[in-house]
């Protein structure tokens, strides 16, 4: 619901008890809540790790005893490392965009916002590639417990990235239309917080799902 908070802050230019922006409090509360959302998804993935009755499996190859069909280990570390790096860089672009807006620097705010959205989109591109290749290698959302828990976990993260990209593009659009100045800093700030959180979640996923066996 955080996005709903963007322009909705009744209190924005009224007195507030803490002197802090209401939208920002809301987004942090939302992020706290999201911790539980992703904790549950990750728990499930870990709980079901190694419990699939049939392959393919994340880290080791598998031959179907019935058909003799061979499946190689699913996860592709090099590609994912690349996408992880991309997402990391998008966070950098995001903070630069934010400080540009705070400075009221119209040129760079546009550049960095666009850059962030672009990197985010690239990450999604990687994920699309990853998913399709997994499906070709015989892992679908229906195949086994690994397939289900993996696609739902990373899929929901991807959905969050998608929402973030749309949010960024909206800000970019506003920036182009009327320009984002210091008084919009707060709206960029909460978008940034959301964006970084999504990045942070990926940091956890990358380690717990991809690297650790």
């Amino acid at each position: 619901m955080a996005s709903a908070a963007v322009a909705d802050a009744h209190a924005e230019h009224h007195y507030t008890s803490t002197g802090l922006s209401s939208t920002k409090i809301a987004i942090w509360a939302f992020i706290g809540s999201e911790c539980f959302f992703f904790a549950s998804l990750i728990s499930t993935y870990l709980i079901y790790k190694g419990r699939s009755v049939v392959g393919p499996f994340p880290h080791e190859a598998w031959t179907n005893p019935a058909t003799g069909q061979h499946f190689k280990a699913i996860l592709n570390i090099p590609v994912t490392s690349a996408s992880t790096f991309v997402l990391l860089m998008s966070s950098l672009a995001m903070v630069l965009a934010h400080s540009a807006v705070v400075r009221g620097d119209r040129k760079y705010s546009k550049i960095w916002l666009a850059m962030t959205a672009l990197l985010g989109a690239t990450f999604l591109g990687f994920q699309a590639y990853e998913f399709t290749s997994f499906v070709h290698e015989g892992l679908t959302i229906k195949t086994n417990l690994f397939g289900s828990s993996f696609f739902i976990l990373t899929g929901f993260h991807g959905a969050h990235v998608t929402a973030g990209v749309l949010w960024l593009m909206t800000l970019l659009f506003i920036d182009m239309k009327r320009g984002l100045g210091p008084r919009d800093a707060i709206n960029v700030d909460i978008c940034a917080l959301y964006w970084h959180f999504v990045d942070v979640v990926w940091i956890a996923i990358f380690t717990l799902v991809y690297l650790i066996q």
């Binding site: 619901m1 996005s3 322009a7 909705d8 802050a9 009744h10 706290g32 998804l41 229906k142 417990l145």
Partner: protein, 646 residues
């Protein structure tokens, strides 16, 4: 203390959206939304109660054949769902909406339109869930819909689709409201309204919001899995794929136990408002009451597996969860005793509100004690899934939550409507409820100890359960009568109840310093709060002087009501000042209120479309259309400012 100017004379031009159906569809006024919640929830309470009444009729005698087994299973599932998600939670939400801003001295919640959105999502969600009756396919897996029974393999019908979709939609509403109120309490408090000066109801509500925003994501995930299992063939609960049914149980109860405190803490809060007023004494041990709330909520996240003592978690887990569960009795006990301490030495006025509050203290304790009996795993092996459990949770839910909420309704009805509810009918309502409730649920203890399993459509003769069930059913009928009386009282008092002044009860907190019903802007000027009980400081200086809750030398209070002498403490006889139209308009006071808009409602409606499409043969076009529609309305809403630019 609450200092608010007497408002300038009324410059009365009715603003548009101010009356008629439209004004309700487009409202962003927390007080109106609160009432929408109230009446919607009460309606669902009647439905849930009606379901209960049918359940009890079926169980009146052995081998009952009033309804079929299939219907019965739908009835108790929907009864549980209706009461928990459509009655008690939204009733609490009604009070969050109506009271929090008034109690903290704010004009509205932090995000008024998000607030409207929450209500409409709740309404549409509850309608979707109950639409299942039209298809004779109401959820039938029990309110905690255990896998694998809820998976397509064992529940192929629409029933559990409605469960999944309904709860998913309702979750959105609850979460949205949660973020809204967390922000409101943190950020909208009037000057001087420090956390440790907040009325205890606001505290309870505040803590509850954290339980909500931290536990609902978990059920959202659990239900999402089930949704994907049912609609897209994933394997989360698919036995043949090696799934572990305990995954659902752990995720569900990780939400489920915090949920039960979500259901009861607001009621605790209301009682903590009612008892001081009618004992004419401040709440006993305010700080401890606040800390115990926080402690209960915190511990509430560490006890979930006490619902799973029979699934074979092993001795270590059983022991740990047994102990953590017992610990919760301590902070809860502190609350009970502090309420007793509040009444001790007071001078108790037995108004209906007060009687319901006292009812909670007495009846919740019974449910709590049986709860502690469950918390001992070996003993629980004999109790679990028997009527002993049913007795427990009705004592805490009806004897706790409902009693507290009834107390709140009688107590705050005058503030909502400007009129008092009938005390005569109220007393009838209370006594019939009190008797009926004990007659219904106390025998269930014995039925349970005599080996009667729960969720059984019918039981055989000479199992020793007949008498218990006769009594329960008679009790339930008494409750139907009681509730009917309440409904009548509510409807009649709205129109013709005795006029209430600003402060019919002589209550201590600032919401009583403003007219009843309050003007849309609540406070003509935001009050400055200097104590926990500003109204008492003002009205009875001789009482509160030297008492730590008030500051010396600041005793005068000016109550904001058009043309009334300041310092006046109103009594039910102050008729004229209650008519809505004597309030000066917001403009005339230079107050900017949010512009009414139906965009939140449209967005809420749009949100439900994809879910309906999902159930409707997974029709992709409907889903996509709905999603786009939602996105569009969301933009339309978010990109228009809350208030007219100024």
């Amino acid at each position: 203390m609450a200092t608010t100017v007497a408002a300038p004379p009324f410059a009365g031009t009715k603003r548009k959206y101010e009356s008629g159906l439209w004004s309700w569809l487009a409202t962003t006024d927390h007080k109106r939304i609160g009432q929408l919640y109230l009446y919607t929830a009460l309606t669902w309470f009647l439905v849930g109660g009606l379901e209960a009444a049918i359940i009890r009729t079926q169980l009146y005698g052995p081998n009952g054949r009033v309804v079929s087994a299939e219907t019965y299973n739908q009835l108790f599932t929907m009864h549980g769902l209706s009461m928990i998600f459509l009655a008690i939670m939204p009733l609490s939400a009604a009070f969050f909406n109506f009271l929090i801003p008034l109690q903290i001295g704010a004009r509205d919640v932090a995000f008024p339109r998000l607030n409207a959105f929450s209500y409409w999502v709740f309404l549409f969600g509850s309608l979707v869930l109950n639409a299942s009756w039209l298809f004779h396919a109401a959820p039938n897996g029990g309110w905690f819909g255990y896998a694998p029974l809820s998976t397509p393999q064992f529940s192929p019908g629409l029933n559990m689709d409605f469960y999944v979709v309904g709860l998913q939609i309702l979750g959105v509403s609850t979460l949205a409201a949660g973020f809204n109120f967390v922000t409101t309490v943190i950020n909208m408090r009037a000057p001087g309204m420090h956390f440790m000066r907040m009325p205890v109801f606001t505290w309870a509500a505040f803590v509850t919001q954290f339980l909500i925003i931290l536990s609902f994501p978990i059920i959202t995930v659990a239900i999402t899995f089930l949704l994907f299992d049912r609609f897209f063939g994933t394997n989360f609960y698919e036995i043949s794929a090696g799934a572990d049914p305990l995954l659902w149980q752990h995720l569900f109860w990780l939400f489920g136990h915090p949920e039960v405190y979500i259901l009861v803490l607001p009621a605790f809060g209301l009682v903590s408002e009612v008892l001081p007023t009618f004992s004419r004494k401040p709440l006993f041990g305010y700080p401890v009451m606040v800390y115990s709330l926080i402690l209960i909520a915190f511990l509430g996240f560490g006890v979930w597996a006490h619902h799973m003592f029979a699934v074979g978690m092993g001795p270590v887990a059983d022991s740990i969860f047994g102990i953590t569960t017992m610990l919760i009795a301590i902070p809860t006990g502190v609350k009970i005793f502090n309420w007793l301490g509040t009444m001790w030495g007071g001078s108790l006025r037995f108004t209906t509100a007060c009687m319901f509050a006292i009812g909670l203290v007495g009846l919740f304790t019974i449910g709590g004690i049986s709860g502690v009996m469950h918390s001992s795993p070996p003993s629980d092996l004999q109790q679990t899934d028997s009527y002993f459990i049913v007795a427990h949770f009705h004592y805490v839910l009806f004897g706790g939550s409902m009693m507290g909420l009834f107390a709140g309704i009688y107590y705050y009805f005058p503030k909502m409507t400007g009129r008092l509810m009938s005390e005569t009918l109220g007393k009838w309502h209370f006594w019939l409820t009190f008797i009926g409730m004990n007659l219904t649920f106390f025998p269930m203890h014995f039925a349970g100890l005599d080996g009667m399993p729960r969720r059984i459509w019918s039981y055989d003769n000479n199992q020793g359960w007949n008498l218990d069930n006769h009594l329960s059913t008679i009790g339930a009928y008494i409750l139907v009568v009681a509730t009917a009386i309440f409904v009548v009282n509510l409807l009649r008092s709205r129109k013709s109840g005795q006029r209430a002044g600003n402060d019919p009860w002589g209550a201590p907190t600032i919401e009583w310093s403003i007219p009843s019903p309050p003007p849309e802007y609540n406070f003509a000027r935001i009050p400055t709060v200097t104590s926990r009980y500003p109204m008492w400081d003002a009205k009875a200086p001789h009482l509160t002087s030297g008492v730590p809750h008030s500051k010396e030398g600041e005793k005068e209070i000016t109550v904001s009501m058009a043309g009334k002498p300041t310092g006046h403490i109103s009594t039910p006889s102050d008729v004229e000042m209650n008519a809505e139209d004597v309030h000066p308009s917001a403009e005339s006071l230079g107050i900017h209120m949010p512009t009414p808009t139906i965009k939140p409602m449209v967005a809420a409606f749009a949100l439900t479309i994809p879910f309906i499409g999902l159930m409707w043969h997974k029709s992709l076009p409907v889903i996509l259309l709905g999603a786009v529609f939602f996105a569009v309305t969301l933009y339309a809403w978010l990109l228009t400012p809350v208030e007219p630019e100024h």
